[in-house]
Amino acid sequence: MYTQALNTSDADDRNVEDATRAAAFQARIDADDRIEPNDWMPAAYRKTLTRQISQHAHSEIVGMLPEGNWITRAPTLRRKAALLAKVQDECGHGLYLYAAAETLGTSREELVDAMLTGKAKYSSIFNYPTLTWADIGTIGWLVDGAAIMNQIPLCRCSYGPYARAMIRVCKEESFHQRQGFEIMLTLCRGTDEQKAMAQDALNRWWWPVLMMFGPPDKVSQHSDTSTKWKIKRFSNDELRQKFVDATVPQAQFLGLTIPDPKMKQDEAGHWVPGPIDWDEFKQVLAGNGPCNRDRLAARRKAHDAGAWVREAAAAYAEKRKRRQFAQAAE
């Protein structure tokens, strides 16, 4: 999902923790207690969460770029205002999540630097281009829809600041998802060209969206500790299945065709997708998606071009402090 690079082993990083404290910690988790910033926690718990929350934050910020690509071209003033407000919401989520990650002891600057140098990851989905207005509808409908599937369980995550951030984020995401679906509905009820635009967008986004949930359970290296610590409550495949089951009837309602001729409904009523091309997923994670370089370049450019502004603000704050100090001394 927004934190795909977590699918790696953490074994080397595990410290030997004080056994009594660790047991007490696990007992609190088992009792569905929330862990707060000043509470004792195992180093690996802190590290896992720092990575997960900061990757989520990076995804929100990089995710502003594909949608931001259409703000200046939105087709009506109402759509323009809604899209600008939506992308602004994503920025707010990023800010909120960096703040949650900072409660674990790493500064926003360090976290952002890790993203800009390519060390930290963000969701693979934002490495695909937005080519038409229908992509904006599709991102809201499917990308935000998939994000919600993943994030609703995170509202019950054991780490308090993350869980609380997710409650707010999910409220806004479900609004975005409805907005995206409404864009699609308008296109599908529009001219033949608009309907073709909607189908084309679905064709391009469907498989990358399914990949957002991460590798299949049978090959996922996701450690059991995330489950034990109640950070992750459902497996990748479980969440993917939930998403597909929710989405297929929506596509049918829109009159669009899911671009998967092998998809079948099983006896239990689940829509089972055909094989996913995991090589594409690996390539995108490795930096070879269509937009990886553009996305990082855009974030680096904003960061570098803004350096003198941040320096000016810091210099002014320092001057002001000195003047106030001098005044008080008089």
Partner: protein
């Protein structure tokens, strides 16, 4: 297939309202160009906020202009189906974002004016304009505060930020005079107590600008030469590019509903 521009019956009140709507849309559009690219996340949100305020003002003003005109136009036709010669905004608001200093100086010059303007317009005998002004003034008051704080930070920050802020002031100064000019179409509305006479706002605007610029250790240019033309549709080269982007879908897919 090319889409024809809409025709507007520019009666004084329609033209007056359109001019303010165009100011708000074009400046809002410029601010929206920053989205995802600002110097800090906090500022990304602030720029989007101001952009959204201005878009909201534009929508109300276009809707009112269309209603006053009483033809088949609406907010989207007015925004998306007029070409550069039909746009009536100030030259100041169409100037490109440039660096952050330039964006903030443009915002500051305009907001310091708009805030006084909306406050005066709250007394308009036209109830709709008075209501739009009452809402817009709350927004412009924040825009003044936000941009003036940045002018001070940049002017009194580092050598580089001082230089950039001063360059922006020097470059944009000649576009400020147009805010205070009045043509024949507005005199009647001013006399009738519907429109605001911007000339009366100039001393207060200059006082606000001077105070902030002085605190920022910056200086206003000595030159008093002022560019004019936006109100009559004689724009800089920049507006055509902005409009070709803004209007691309409406022009490519005539008559579609979005």
């Amino acid at each position: 297939m090319a889409v024809a521009n809409v025709e507007i019956s520019e009666t004084p009140l329609v033209l007056y309202t359109l001019r303010r709507a165009d100011d708000a849309l074009i400046l809002g559009h410029r601010l929206s160009e920053w989205c995802g690219h600002a110097p800090t996340l906090e500022e990304d949100m602030a720029l989007a906020n101001m952009g959204l305020d201005l878009l909201g003002q534009a929508r109300e003003l276009y809707t009112y202009a269309a209603r006053v005109e009483g033809k088949d136009n609406d907010e989207d036709k007015l925004a998306y189906l007029r070409d550069v010669r039909q746009y009536r905004n100030l030259l100041l608001v169409e100037q490109p974002n440039g660096d952050f200093a330039r964006t903030m100086v443009r915002q500051f010059f305009h907001a310091a004016f708009a805030d006084l303007y909306w406050r005066a317009m709250m007394q308009s005998k036209d109830a709709t304009l008075a209501a739009i002004a009452a809402k817009s003034e709350k927004e412009s008051a924040y825009h003044v505060r936000h941009s003036s704080e940045w002018i001070i930070r940049l002017g009194d920050g580092t050598e580089e930020s001082h230089h950039r802020a001063q360059t922006a002031i020097d470059d944009l100064w000649s576009f400020t005079g147009e805010m205070f000019s009045v043509d024949g179409s507005e005199h009647g509305l001013i006399d009738a107590g519907i429109a605001v006479d911007p000339v009366s706002l100039y001393p207060q605007w200059l006082k606000t600008i001077t105070a902030v610029v002085n605190e920022a250790t910056l200086a206003l240019p000595a030159s008093n030469w002022m560019q004019q033309g936006g109100r009559g549709g004689r724009h800089s080269e920049h507006l055509g590019h902005l409009l070709s982007e803004l209007q691309s879908l409406q022009r490519t897919f005539p008559g579609a509903t979005w």
